[in-house]
């Protein structure tokens, strides 16, 4: 397995526009278009959430595809597995809507589709090169990178700040 890419969240860049949530819902709709998606029943659902935390923080949140994913081990019907790309996915056919995954996810990232009686969650957009939420974010608050590449960016940025701080 090559180093998988993760979705990193830069909370200080998020302005709370929720473009990501719309892009996610459209990407998971039948029509794959905004105009088609708003007319669909059941309404296409976003797998990414933008919450507000005092005093003025906007926090985009999406499934972390945890290394030792609690949802996957807790699932009582074998519906949750990890793909070869490291993405934890829910097999809708196998899901029985018992909500055990909802009970064990410490991030609250698993949604309940009440019309279909199935759990749903981020699937990292398997058919796209870049997940829809990341591609849509206008402020760069979502970054799709491998961990080493992201860490290298952070180091580069930090070293630049350190140099600036010395006034050289």
């Amino acid at each position: 397995m090559t180093q998988p890419k993760e979705i990193f969240v830069l909370t200080d860049r998020c302005v709370g526009c929720r473009t990501c949530t719309i892009a996610c819902a459209v990407a998971h709709s039948t029509s794959k278009t905004l105009f088609g998606a708003v007319a669909e029943t059941p309404r296409p659902k976003s797998r990414i959430y933008v919450e507000w935390a005092a005093p003025a923080h906007k926090v985009p949140m999406v499934c972390r595809h945890c290394e030792d994913a609690p949802c996957m081990h807790a699932c009582i019907s074998g519906a949750i597995r990890r793909t070869d790309d490291g993405v934890v996915i829910t097999d809708t056919d196998k899901c029985i809507g018992c909500w055990t995954c909802v009970m064990v996810c410490p991030y609250g990232m698993i949604g309940r589709d009440l019309e279909r009686h199935k759990a749903y969650r981020c699937d990292r957009c398997p058919d796209r090169d870049i997940p829809a939420c990341v591609a849509a974010c206008p402020t760069g608050a979502l970054v799709y990178q491998t961990v080493p590449a992201y860490a290298a960016d952070v180091r580069r940025h930090a070293s630049g700040e350190m140099v600036k701080g010395k006034g050289s």
Partner: protein, 416 residues
């Protein structure tokens, strides 16, 4: 001795198979043999009511190849019941006389239904305690000629079985000795919405009464006699009165038994190279530290995985589990109950909120700084975050308002 294996796992359900998988993740080469007394290859036990309702076939419940279970290079012996364990010689003996040596052994034999001795006639044909896939098959067969069924016990397992029968168009009566259904999981007043949902779904419920005897004729069950003198004519009885750990095979082995097998924080038993996990093991409750036993797939998997890592040489402390940790949906009503939920006569800070569609009860300790339990009915959004707060004993002072108003999200917990 016939043969020996590096890892022997006694019991092929949640804890045993999770342990096997965990060992395989840590140790790609070592031999792993699972001994299961059932005739079926390991399967997802919680799905068996779907065989009764007809919604799923047995092959759709197979464990290997589903979820995290690869089944890769894990030997499973079915119909292999262990009858004795020799801890000094490090080997187990099967019912058919075969012996198998072990490097390390895990006892994950689970539990079996408890049949109250005060109920007469529990051996009548048509009386079930739904536990195995084989039970489910027999129950599905009997359901073909059943017009009315009586369920004894108001726990979750019996409710699921009841709904499987209702789906088949069978008239179902639930007989509960407690004042309300799900009394293990919540106070009667917390169960109000669930009770309404059950009533709407067409389940007949008789509370405050117990069965005395099961009456049978040549066709099997024909009636259940209650302690109030009533008799309910029926063709099927299902008993859901809790479970007992399967520890009989350890008699004389030197393995310490309390209510179940006593395991330490690293899931080890008192004899060398022996471990225990799942329903059969006594564990501890993280909030109070009290020893408890649970019979829950999710808990069994968690402990089984932990035991697997310990057996494979990665010391992993088992953090224990809540005595109560349930999420499910009965009729059209989802609910979650976890941690300290029985609050009658206890000095705790309790916040309740009830509406026509949803109910919640949030239980804090006396100083109000820690969440210790939660019952969410109807709206179970973000239940996992509450579980995290209870389990980690987080000081929740800064987010208490959000918890009480059920608006908490993970962003509130971030250090930003």
């Amino acid at each position: 001795m016939d043969s020996a294996e590096a890892y022997v796992i006694v019991g092929g359900s949640a804890a045993g198979m999770a342990a096997a998988q965990a060992i395989r993740e840590r140790d790609p080469a070592a031999g792993i043999t699972v001994l299961s007394e059932e005739a079926d290859a390991p399967y997802f036990r919680p799905l068996i009511p779907y065989l009764v309702s007809g919604r799923k076939q047995a092959r759709e419940m197979t464990l290997a190849g589903s979820g995290p279970y690869t089944g890769r290079d894990i030997q499973v012996w079915t119909e292999a019941r262990v009858t004795a364990v020799d801890c000094k010689g490090q080997r187990v003996t099967l019912a058919d006389g075969r012996q198998l040596g072990y490097g390390k052994v895990l006892f994950a034999t689970g539990s079996r239904p408890f049949l109250p001795p005060e109920i007469k006639g529990t051996d009548t044909e048509g009386v079930f305690a739904l536990r195995t896939l084989a039970d489910a098959r027999r129950m599905a067969k009997r359901a073909e000629t059943t017009r009315r069924a009586v369920m004894l016990g108001g726990g979750l397992l019996n409710l699921k079985a009841a709904f499987a029968l209702l789906e088949r168009g069978i008239r179902v009566t639930l007989v509960v000795f407690s004042p309300e259904v799900l009394s293990q999981l919540m106070n009667p007043s917390d169960a109000l919405l669930i009770r309404h949902a059950l009533d709407r779904a067409g389940l007949e419920i008789r509370t405050g009464t117990a069965a005395r005897q099961i009456v049978g004729d040549e066709s099997g069950v024909c009636a259940v006699g209650l302690d109030n003198g009533d008799e309910i004519a029926c063709q099927m009885v299902c008993i859901g009165k809790g479970v007992r750990p399967n520890v009989d095979f350890l008699a004389g082995s030197g393995i310490r038994i309390g209510e179940g097998i006593v395991a330490d924080r690293f899931t080890a038993c008192n004899q060398p190279n022996t471990f225990a996990a799942g329903d059969v093991a006594v564990t501890h409750e993280p909030v109070s530290g009290r020893p408890i036993m649970t019979a829950l797939w999710t808990n069994a998997v968690e402990m089984g995985r932990c035991a697997g890592f310990n057996m494979a040489g990665l010391p992993t402390a088992y953090t224990g589990t809540f005595g109560i940790l349930n999420a499910t949906q009965v009729a059209d009503m989802p609910f979650v109950a976890m941690g300290t939920v029985h609050t009658e006569g206890v000095d705790l800070e309790i916040h309740r909120h009830a509406s026509a569609e949803a109910y919640r009860k949030l239980v804090f300790d006396t100083d109000g700084k820690h969440l210790v339990g939660a019952v969410l009915v109807g709206d179970i959004t973000n239940a996992g975050i509450y579980r995290y707060l209870i389990r980690e004993k987080r000081d929740i002072t800064t987010v208490k308002r959000q918890i009480v108003n059920h608006q908490l999200h993970y962003g509130h917990l971030l250090p930003i």
